[in-house]
Symmetry: C2
Subunit: 200 residues, 2 copies
């Protein structure tokens, strides 16, 4: 089964738009999603930004909120503009990294994004993460402990560096098995098409 | 007839992809294009960039060239990666600004973009601009003199400032009569839909 690597950041509004849809769309075409939670903070810092470009550039930020709201409405996705942006996504990202190859990763990823961008909840709170994991019938205590291991902390940092080495500079990004990079929610269909056509 | 304001920069690859298509697509829907040549240089400088973000951010730049080539191929548009980026677009922009309300503005705009991104010609050369104008059966000498008047020079600067005041931070951008801003070649269809639906 062809795989599509999906790089996402829980603080990224456009990542939400893609994460909400990618698993079903991929499944419809016989493609497996390879979930790759990353952190944009270190990537942006290496680009010379102290925060998101949507914060550094006010006009671009204002446009982004309008654009995301329009797209969410078109897609029928719930949307609530967050009061705080960007959110602190480190804990959620570590949990996702720890579970990136587990069967629950898609559902967990969607649940976190839903909390962040449909309900405007603070995803940095451990109690919220525990509640989400329990709702998925998982051993929340065990997974929370895993998420704070040195292996996961270092592994996530290495995954960010690896993504950058493959050309990733923002999120969402998708990389096909052939190495073609697609950036942005706008490129989800193209990335799936490129994954499908080559193998099918 | 509803109008859609189209903000473009002759040095912008994504502006090329939109400029090549917008007039026909708009015409098909009974929409008139309001041509608005702008300069991204002063806009980027006010954002803290000394050049295009595609130059400042190497990874983003590398991705952009791949992305534009893929889109051009999908659209069946000729494409040649320019040896020099960004090109000096001031002269071409002044000519376009001088002729922005003339019946030849669409054809001239497409011709300049074609020179820049299909043939990789240097669009800063006055002799190339003169040749393009003559090919359109226009009084090239008169238009070249107009393009260098203080009125046009100041008018173009004011048009850039006005675009920024309306929220424009990059190109291509489109603004509907209702004031909705759409950024990027990816939003051409949405911008046309928004122009059409509201009036039709």
């Amino acid at each position: 089964m062809p795989r599509l690597a999906f790089y996402y950041e829980f603080a990224s509004p456009y990542s939400y738009l893609t994460a909400a849809r990618i698993e079903q769309l991929a499944k419809d075409r016989g493609i497996e999603v390879d979930w790759r939670p990353i952190l944009l903070g270190p990537i942006f810092r290496r680009q010379g930004f102290e925060s998101s470009p949507f914060v550094a550039n006010q006009k671009k930020g204002a446009y982004m909120w309008r654009d995301v709201a329009r797209i969410a409405a078109n897609l029928g996705l719930p949307w609530k503009k967050p009061r705080i942006f960007p959110q602190h996504s480190l804990l959620a990202s570590r949990i996702a990294f720890a579970g990136r190859k587990e069967p629950w990763i898609g559902a967990f990823t969607r649940a976190v994004f839903h909390m962040a961008f449909a309900l405007d909840e603070d995803i940095s709170k451990p109690e919220l993460m525990i509640a989400l994991l329990r709702e998925l019938d998982l051993d929340a205590d065990k997974i929370m402990r895993q998420a704070e291991t040195t292996e996961v902390k270092i592994g996530l940092r290495a995954a960010v560096a690896e993504a950058e080495a493959l050309g990733v500079f923002g999120a969402p990004s998708m990389i096909t098995e052939k190495g073609e990079l697609y950036w942005g929610n706008d490129r989800l269909d193209e990335a799936l098409d490129a994954s499908f056509v080559r193998i099918g």
